[in-house]
Amino acid sequence: MQRFWFLTFDGLAAGAVYAAFALALVLIWRAARVVNFAQGAMAVATAYVGYAVVGATGSYWLGLAAAVLAGLALGALVERVLMRFVGPAGPLNQVIVALGLVLLVQAVLGMVFGNGYRPAPAPFDTDALTVGGVAALSPYDLWVLGAALTVVALLALLFTRTPVGLRMRAAAFAPEVSRLLGVSVGRMLTLGWALAAGVGALAGMLVVPTGLGLHPHAMDLVFVVAFTAAVVGGLDSPVGAVVGGLLVGLILSYVTGYLGPDTTPLAVLVLLLAVLLVRPGGLFSAARARHV
């Protein structure tokens, strides 16, 4: 039973990061109908920036801020320079361009920083505290959980309570009408990409210390898991992304804990296929007629 509780808490902490990462995917999907397959690589790039700043200044918080700022800038750059010009020739081209970006970013990181693992120290203790004889969350897990949930809450506020959020939603759902009403749709798109990459950067900074360290491919599997989380919740639903992230975090924690860490990719695939075949729109999708 103790192990069960430990795995539950561990899964929630991991799930919070998946939730933030899935949220970044959902943000771009809602704004531009693109699944950003380069999200993982972009997050790794910003984590390198963050830890370079940590190394130079000795302050984790400065590094975190630098990573998020770099994420915002990178997201805006990718949208302005690349994605804007892919055109509406179908989702295939956008995915391929994003994958080209993955190759480019990972190769550049390898050239600049080397292909080895770099240490990425956590700002808090990663040993679990015991509460009433049960090994529960570590201080770092608490920080991850808190940071991820705060970002989710802030984004929800932004989209539902501010004029900018309203304009972004309008630009996503009815670009033509929004343009007529004076909303700069292109700028909203850039802002959406920037926000998503910023959230991705934060998620990257949170997840890297829990793994083997900083590496150009550090986020490959995290991306696949986050994509699964977004699909579980429904690519259109921010709430779904958060619930999906926590759910996937829990499931993977149990699978890894009871069946061994090697089974994780298999569990991800089974989960992804199960959701897509049974409920393709995700758990939180509104019923919609299927387009052939």
């Binding site: 693109v34 699944v35 397959f37 690349l82 010009f85 892919v86 020739a89 179908g90 989702p91 295939l92 081209n93 995915v95 391929i96 361009v97 994958l99 080209g100 970006l101 993955v102 190759l103 480019l104 970013v105 990972q106 190769a107 550049v108 390898g110 050239m111 600049v112 080397g114 292909n115 491919h217 490959d220 599997l221 696949v224 994509f227 699964t228 699909v231 690519l235 061994g260 090697d262 089974t263 994780t264 990719p265 298999l266 991800v268 695939l269 992804l272 296929l273 897509l276 075949l277 393709p280 052939v292």
Partner: protein, 352 residues
């Protein structure tokens, strides 16, 4: 619509295959061992890229899992050959074609499973699922260590040239011939398939599913079949790839391989079999460029280590993006445009 040209198409493709085969065999007779191995690798990759480009370019299903399908073929060949060897029935001429056939069958079956799911998925969803498939290889080989021997991988008896070719026959040349035979067979079958009624269904489904369905094309069945054919080609390519080194290991089929395969067919020219040839050449160049680069540029070891592999990747990643944005036809599209312009110039010339 039934065409009297069908026969001539088959003959034309056969003639093309014989011509290409003869040229490559003549080439391999001149080449030293390492270069012959490169020819063999190009041919092995050609099996994969040709099948992949038909699926992505002609049927519009984006698969990022072809590296895993290659691994399936490679492991099947290794397991079959080891099994035969342990039972002391190996060594016959039929072992190689038999194991490759098994690789095609097993991978096609895997493709059927993925394809059945894929037929219900669209665009980014399909890409995501196949990406998850691509991450499976190391996991599966570790979970079933007893069968696949984990990270270490499997070895099996190397393919020796038959005695009829003489005692001093270059083994690499024989490997190149094996791979060449597989590649020619794949190209011949796919070329005919693409020109057939079924090939037209593939394109119709890609361009407009509703219209295709109204025209009486079974959309889902066409998509599944495209996946099965493409997977079979990937299995054959993966099997041949394993035969070249007589080893398989999960490290040879990383997630990146699947991305490289996609990159190769896009830069070569999506949907074109000639583009698949460019793609296969590109994949081998990608493997060999780093060594060449560090050899010829006088770099410090630290810098050389960091550039090794990464520089070529960065360049190809950039090319991939540029091709997608500026020249969706890829290399083959460029070649075709050039040929058209040349032909026009030649036609104009006599008037002057």
């Amino acid at each position: 619509m039934t065409t009297p040209r069908t026969g001539s198409t088959l003959l034309r493709h056969l003639a093309g295959a014989v011509l290409a085969g003869t040229l490559v065999v003549l080439l391999t007779n001149q080449l030293p061992p390492y270069e012959n191995l490169q020819v063999a690798r190009v041919c092995a990759f050609l099996c994969v890229t040709a099948g992949h480009t038909v699926l992505v370019g002609l049927n519009g299903q984006l698969s990022l899992g072809h590296g895993a399908l290659m691994a399936t073929g490679a492991y099947t060949v290794a397991l079959v050959q080891r099994g035969l060897d342990e039972r002391a029935v190996g060594g016959g001429w039929w072992v190689l074609p038999g194991s490759l056939l098994a690789a095609v069958a097993v991978t096609a079956l895997g493709g059927l499973v993925v394809g059945l799911a894929a037929a219900r998925l669209r665009g980014p969803y399909l890409a995501g699922v196949t990406l998850a498939v691509a991450t499976l290889v190391p996991a599966v080989t570790t979970i079933f260590t007893g069968v696949f021997n984990g990270e270490q991988g499997l070895r099996f008896p190397a393919q020796a040239p038959p005695a009829a070719l003489g005692p001093y026959f270059q083994p690499e040349r024989w490997l190149a011939w094996i791979a060449l035979a597989a590649a020619l067979l794949t190209m011949l079958l796919l070329a005919n398939l693409v020109r057939s009624r079924y090939g037209r269904s593939l394109r119709a489904v890609r361009d407009d599913e509703v219209a295709a369905r109204l025209a009486g094309i079974p959309v889902a069945r066409t998509q599944v079949l495209a996946f099965v054919v493409s997977a079979g080609c990937a299995g054959l390519g993966g099997g041949v790839y394993a035969v070249l080194t007589a080893t398989v290991a999960p490290g040879k089929f990383p997630l990146d391989l699947s991305l490289f395969l996609l990159m190769a067919i896009v830069i070569g020219g999506l949907g074109s079999l000639a583009g698949a040839v460019w793609g296969a050449l590109l994949l081998v160049a990608l493997q060999d460029l780093p060594a060449l680069l560090t050899e010829h540029l006088d770099l410090s070891t630290g810098l050389a280590q960091r550039l090794e592999g990464n520089l070529a990747l960065a360049v190809f990643g950039l090319i991939l993006i540029v091709v997608m944005l500026a020249a969706p036809g890829g290399l083959q599209g460029g070649v075709r445009a050039l040929a058209t312009r040349l032909r026009a110039a030649v036609r104009r010339a006599p008037d002057r």
